[in-house]
């Protein structure tokens, strides 16, 4: 050993998220939110304990099976959107379908339909640089929805948006993303959107300090 102290990123986490729930993880920077959603999304494996998503224990799955499971059942909305700048909106949105083996024409048709659903009809051929921040976020949401995943993981979806745009995005999540009993896990700092959550978990120093469904009860 080099003599450095090993600090666990997460400690004593005991959390159950229900199907059809809009669940928010909040807390200060460095409290372990990103680590926790990485584990929930099967991107990172925990050192100890168990994480089960839709009945699948990620730690017992092979890397390839976990990747395939993630592709089929999870949707992602990243903080920086991570839209590929050289692709058009419809091409960006069609990526999850293409990764699942859907033929390109069909994937783009379905992507265009989802873009229309999020209010971007007519902007299918626009590149990310030609869209506003709010529109880019809508493209990212459409990309997370296009393959009908059962769980959507969002990382700071409103951090780059003003209050109104942030509210619009959350309303969109409520309208579109929560269809079909879908589960939404949102990591956020943004207390302007707490009101949209069914439940909120407050994290601090790698632990969940509080879980509440009452925004006014947060401390």
């Amino acid at each position: 050993m080099s003599g450095q102290t090993v600090t666990p990123a997460l400690r004593g986490i005991d959390l159950e998220i229900n199907q059809g729930e809009l669940f928010m993880l909040v807390g200060p920077s460095g409290c372990g939110k990103t680590t926790l959603i990485s584990i929930l999304a099967g991107i990172l494996l925990q050192d100890t304990g168990t994480c089960t998503v839709l009945g699948q224990n990620f730690k017992e799955m092979k890397d390839s099976a976990r990747t395939a499971f993630r592709g089929a059942t999870l949707g992602f909305v990243f903080q920086a959107y991570n839209l590929i700048p050289t692709l058009t909106a419809v091409e960006n949105v069609s990526i999850p379908l293409l990764l699942l083996g859907t033929p390109r024409a069909e994937a783009e048709a379905r992507a265009a339909a989802v873009l229309a659903k999020v209010g971007l009809a007519g902007r299918e051929r626009s590149r990310p640089a030609q869209l506003s921040g709010g529109q880019q976020q809508r493209v990212a949401i459409a990309r997370a929805l296009v393959h009908n995943p059962q769980v959507i993981v969002c990382d700071e979806p409103t951090s780059a948006l003003d209050k109104d745009a942030g509210h619009n995005v959350m309303e969109l999540f409520r309208e579109v993303a929560m269809d079909d009993n879908r589960t939404l896990v949102i990591v956020t700092h943004d207390n302007r959107i707490f009101q949209f959550a069914d439940r909120i978990a407050v994290m601090s120093d790698g632990k969940i300090e509080q879980i509440t469904s009452d925004v006014t009860n947060l401390h």
């Binding site: 990485s38 991107i43 990747t67 592709g71 992602f76 050289t86 692709l87 091409e91 293409l98 990382d155």
Partner: protein, 386 residues
Amino acid sequence: MHIAIKMLVGNRGKYFGMVFGVFLSAMIITQQSSIFTGLISRTFGFLTDTTYPDIWVMDPMVQYVDDFKPMTDTKLLQVRGIDGVASAVPLYKGVLRARLEDGSFQQTNVIGLDDASLTGGPPVMLAGSVADLRKSDGIIVDEAGNNKRFAKKNPIPGGPKIPLAIGDTLEINDKRGVVVGIARVQRTFQTNPVIYTTYSRAMSFAPKERKLLTYILVKVHPGTAIETVATRITKLTGLQALTNAQFSDSTVTYFLKNTGIPINFGIAVILGLIIGTAICGQTFYGFTLDNVRYFGALKAMGASNVVLLKMIFLQALLVGLIGYGSGTGVASLFYFLSKNSELAFRLPWQILAITGCAVTFTCLIAALLSMLKVIFLEPAIVFKGE
């Protein structure tokens, strides 16, 4: 795969940078290798022109085609008497000085053909015929030499030089030579003009020496193994007996071993490879680094390592193919344009294959560096923001 291509070509600056790296590499390797091959093939150009003999017989110390170590004429009779030899004719080859009409001198390769058969004559006659050598003082001059080195001054000041025509004369060692034909021959390594004449006339041109027979050209009986007869000639006469291919090989080997040609061209080819690999590798790796968070996002969204590696491989393949095509295309254009010039440029398919291998190597190195980055990419990077 569509995404991979759009990711690649969408960033025009990087894309053209990568293609340019491979283009430069392919062009330098093809061009330098072609000039190298052209120069080397000129070393045995005379052997390429003289396809008649099955076996070249010469002094055992001869190392290459212009390494003149003459033999006595009696060796010809010895060779003719060997079992399996259908015919054996003498051939003189030497470098003599020709005096031109204006009084200047020009070093020239003189080839003396067997008087009776005129075996070993030039492959392509542009004017006159090989048989015209039987005319008094007849000589045949080569086209390239005639157009430049042997050409006469134009009586009009500043006018282009005038090539010799049939009937014009040259002086070789104070002996008169009358042009009876113009031939097209392979360029020689020394770039001297070439004069064909009869063996006996060449003897009169050459300074008096006890030995003047340079080569004996042997044709073997049909159905007889050439190698067997060559071995027999060496065993019975002590002379060196080589097939055309063996003589060409020994000539090339001599030049490769005893001149700086391979080193000079080798350095240029290696430089091309290094420059191409460096530009392409660095740009391709930079391109991957720029896209690493998108690869991370793709990985998070369910793209397996195999899919991502296929994407990078396809991108490298595309860059390689376009760079290779344009690089070898420009080199081929250069070859086409220089076809009738004095430039030694030879572009056999093997050079294109070698360049293809070098470009594949360049792209593989570039792709490998990028692949390592992507394989060990932690997809959680996508949750870390910008």
